[in-house]
């Protein structure tokens, strides 16, 4: 067992240890044990950083991969299936080590931040315990080398997000939000499980490496449509966890959780899990499945961006921007811009965590005011928060010199390249939606910065009755702060333990962390270390009835042999170059694949190639879009040339459509929830009248029979017993009288008997 594997298992188990300690002993520890959580996460991050250093910096090999597994369950020889084993294992490659470092770092910062934000909460210790189990679950997903253990940790993430979102469970809205999140995730998970079963039914293994080796060897026994279905079903898990349309509805409501939790769940971990999972199964997705994924991602990005521009709650804006950015990542995976999507996953994790923690600082300083309409002018009071929040905002908007610019542009370039390769008019919709969303992103983030930090304080404008309402809410959630009335207290900068995470995260949102060239992420270490893996599914040509023709003609000879041996990552720099938009290699691959049999492979190569060509186009268009969006925000909110309220009135239907989140909640309420209720009522009726009827009928019959049985028992069986007893009793009473105890009476009896004998004897003699 490789020492890095051992260390990664230690990293995995440390947060679990934190959970176990804190859930049982937090009341016995000083400070309710928050130092345990922070300390353990600190060591977990230190080890992860060491792994990251060893793997990404020292090895610097795109194909780095070490794995270890053991047989978890051996079910022996199952009839009809063959030998059945379920294995568990750990895999470490570049992606894993980057994710490990990212998750533990953000979790550590969230722990640290929470010591300030959650101070005085009555369930303070339990909060840190929940953060621990959440981090454990997420690390489990990151390290898993097979679908089965990913599914286990996937559900654990679902559970722990349920616990954290509903942390203030006394609030009805929080309790509703946690249920909503859990149920929406369940819908996705069912699909994911079905996808896993499709693959399992074919290969009898859950291991990624074995599944891909089998796929590459063409052992998939069903039609190509089944493979597409498996891909889309697995993607459904991502739709639930990463809040893609149509299951995105849970994420904005999940803002009911404590704000640091929002940072953890909605930036680094849970929503990233979905994208990470799609990246893990990327090689088995067929072209059709990728099309579906790309369109869902593009639509989600666009829809969430349009909703975000009208929201008033500071956290809801960020929530919808998260949904929108996740849409970008999914779009990126869908168009085959694998490296770019994962790049965006990491950069987004940092700047979005910074934004959420910054909004938490604002909410904390504003005494639990979340409505941006009543904020304003905070830049003077909270300079640190202002600076970091603005930097993260620019990264989210995708302004050059930020990390967000690098990753978003790489995705958009991939999208343009994809549209060029596919050549169909409808495929241009994807980059179009992407660019338009980029503009909307810049607009709503500009709006948010202006409303929160600039201008004059608008606290006094807040209607009084709403004030009481909000005060009541704060009361329910934060007893420690409920007695301060916020008008009597000024707004102050937050303490160091909440400021430090903001600064660290903001520093990680700058371009030079990832790439020396502020305009090209492809030159950075990230895109070099996370190359696009060669596919293992050359899609079949259904008309010819061939099952998996492309597998026998892989993209590269070098890529073919590791694929057969279960190694998914490409083995040479050759492939790394492909991933970094190396046009020449892609063209060569293109030519080779043309004579071959794969549809998916040349498509990927072409996307990469076209992505290179489209790169500068993407930079220009997106920069223009970002500037356009920001200037629109300036025009509307700074210079006041366009009055937002009048505009809203002028396009009232559109405004309401956006404000009410496209009415998705109402649509779901009217269809699925009402439908479920009607179904439930029908089932209740069935239960009461039919099932209960049958049960009651049976019960009546049983009672009748029991009555008969009882009578038989009482009169026949008991009668016989009692009669016997009575007889014996009576006989005994009679015979007892003979037993006088007096010797003389016995003598008399003896005489009588002797006399009787003689009489009897002599009468017989006479006869």
């Amino acid at each position: 067992m490789h020492s890095l594997i051992q260390l990664s298992i230690v990293v995995l188990l440390l947060p679990l240890l934190s959970f176990v300690i804190l859930i049982f002993f937090n009341r016995k520890l000083p400070r309710r044990g928050d130092f345990v959580g922070v300390g353990i996460l600190g060591s977990a991050f230190a080890i992860s950083a060491y792994i990251f250093w060893q793997v990404v910096v020292q090895a610097y090999d795109p194909a780095f991969r070490i794995a270890w597994d053991f047989t978890w369950m051996d079910l022996g020889n199952v009839p009809g299936v063959g030998s059945l084993q379920i294995k568990m294992g750990v895999v470490i490659d570049n992606l894993t080590s980057i994710m490990l470092a990212m998750v533990t770092l953000i979790s550590l910062l969230v722990h640290l931040y929470s010591t300030g934000y959650m101070a005085g909460d009555k369930n303070y210790g339990r909060y840190f315990a929940f953060l621990g189990i959440f981090t454990f679950s997420m690390l489990g997903i990151v390290l898993s080398d097979n679908l089965f253990s990913i599914y286990i940790f996937w559900e654990l993430v679902g559970l722990s997000s349920y616990l954290l979102i509903g942390f203030f469970f006394e609030k009805q809205s929080a309790a509703d939000a946690q249920k909503k999140a859990f149920l929406a995730n369940r819908v996705g998970d069912i699909g994911m499980w079905l996808g896993i079963l499709i693959l399992y039914s074919q290969f009898h293994t859950f291991s990624f490496a074995e599944i891909y080796a089998n796929l590459a060897a063409g052992k998939f026994g069903l039609s190509n449509a089944w493979l597409t279905a498996a891909g889309i079903l697995l993607f459904m898990g991502c739709v639930g966890k990463s809040a893609q349309f149509p299951l995105h509805v849970w994420l904005p409501d999940a803002m009911e959780g404590p704000t640091p939790v929002s940072a953890l769940i909605h930036a680094a971990t849970m929503v990233a899990a979905g994208v990470y999972f799609v990246a893990r199964i990327f090689v088995l997705l067929t072209a059709d499945a990728l099309h579906v994924i790309a369109f869902i991602g593009a639509f989600t990005a666009f829809m969430a961006a349009t909703i975000a521009i009208t929201q008033h709650d500071i956290k809801r804006v960020l929530a919808y921007s998260t949904v929108s950015q996740l849409g970008y990542m999914v779009l990126g995976l869908g168009v085959g811009a694998y490296s770019a999507a994962l790049f965006h996953l990491v950069t987004h994790a940092f700047f979005k965590a910074c934004l959420f923690l910054g909004s938490g600082a604002i909410i904390h300083a504003m005494h639990h005011e979340q409505d941006m309409r009543w904020m304003g002018g905070l830049r003077k009071n909270m300079p640190w928060t202002f600076a970091t929040f603005t930097l993260a905002t620019l990264a989210l908007a995708g302004l050059p010199l930020t990390s967000g610019f690098l990753s978003k542009d790489a995705i958009l370039a991939g999208a343009i390249g994809f549209a060029n390769v596919e050549g169909g008019g409808i495929f241009y919709l994807i980059p179009l939606l992407g660019f338009f969303s980029a503009m909307l992103t810049a607009f709503y983030m500009g709006r948010q910065i202006w409303l929160v930090f600039f201008g004059e304080s608008r606290t006094h404008l807040k209607p009084v009755e709403e004030d009481n309402h909000a005060g009541h809410h704060a009361h329910a959630s934060h007893d420690a702060h409920s007695d301060d009335h916020h008008e009597e207290h000024g707004v102050h900068e937050v303490s160091w333990n909440m400021r430090a995470p903001l600064v660290i995260l903001a520093a990680l949102s700058v371009f030079f962390v990832y790439s020396p060239d502020p305009l090209d992420g492809g030159k950075g270490w990230f895109m070099k270390m996370i190359p696009t893996p060669p596919t293992v599914v050359g899609a079949a040509n259904p008309q010819k009835g061939a099952m998996l023709a492309g597998v026998t003609a892989p993209l590269h000879a070098e890529a073919a042999s590791p694929a057969v041996h279960g190694e998914v990552a490409p083995a040479s720099e050759h492939d790394a170059a492909v991933a970094t938009h190396g046009g020449a290699t892609a063209a060569g691959a293109h030519g080779e694949a043309k004579g071959g049999h794969s549809y998916s492979d040349p498509r990927q190569a072409e996307v990469v190639h076209a992505g290179h060509a489209a790169h500068y186009t993407a930079i220009y268009i997106s920069s223009v879009m970002v500037v356009l969006g920001l200037s629109l925000a300036l025009i509307v909110y700074v210079f006041g040339i366009i009055d937002p309220d009048k505009t809203a009135l002028a396009i009232r239907p559109l405004y309401l459509f956006s404000l009410n989140k496209w009415y998705w909640d109402e649509i779901y309420e009217a269809t699925f929830i009402k439908g479920s209720m009607v179904l439930a009522r029908i089932l209740t009726w069935f239960d009461i009248n039919v099932v209960d009827g049958i049960v009651n009928g049976v019960a009546t019959l049983v009672r009748k029979f029991a009555f008969l049985n009882n009578s038989f028992d009482k009169y026949v069986v008991d009668g016989a017993v009692n009669f016997t007893a009575f007889t014996v009793n009576t006989t005994g009473a009679v015979l007892r009288k003979l037993q006088t105890g007096k010797v003389q009476s016995y003598v008399v009896m003896l005489l009588v008997l002797v006399f009787g004998y003689f009489v009897f004897y002599f009468t017989r003699l006479i006869h």
Binding site: Q739, T740, G741, K742, V743, Q744, V747, V748, L751
Partner: protein
């Protein structure tokens, strides 16, 4: 007439039967344990008379020998029985057999 003047076997048996009757009567009806013992002696002697009478009219000595044994055994029996009666008296402070009915239990 000769029947009346000559003592024959029947006379012996008749006396013996009477003796037995008296003995039984004493055993069954008397309350005093010592009187009951006396009744038992009467019964034994009734048996002795029977043995001797049959011995004489049979012309053999077996009956006489038997009656000698019975006398010896009766003496032993009387000794043991009187010892028992004394013990009974010690335990129950009475020799009234009608009041001694602990056999019932």
């Amino acid at each position: 007439m000769e029947q009346l003047t000559t003592i024959g076997l029947n006379h012996y048996l008749t006396i013996s039967a009477f003796l037995l009757g008296f003995g039984l009567f004493a055993v069954v009806t008397r309350k005093n344990a010592i009187v009951i013992l006396m009744g038992v002696e009467l019964i034994l002697n009734a048996a002795n008379i029977n043995f001797l009478a049959f011995s004489k009219y049979n012309g053999e000595m077996q009956g006489a020998m038997f009656s000698l044994f019975i006398i010896v055994i009766a003496a032993a029996e009387a000794a043991i029985a009187l010892a028992i009666v004394i013990n009974i008296f010690k335990i129950f402070k009475s020799v009234d057999v009608s009041s001694i009915d602990s056999l019932k239990e």
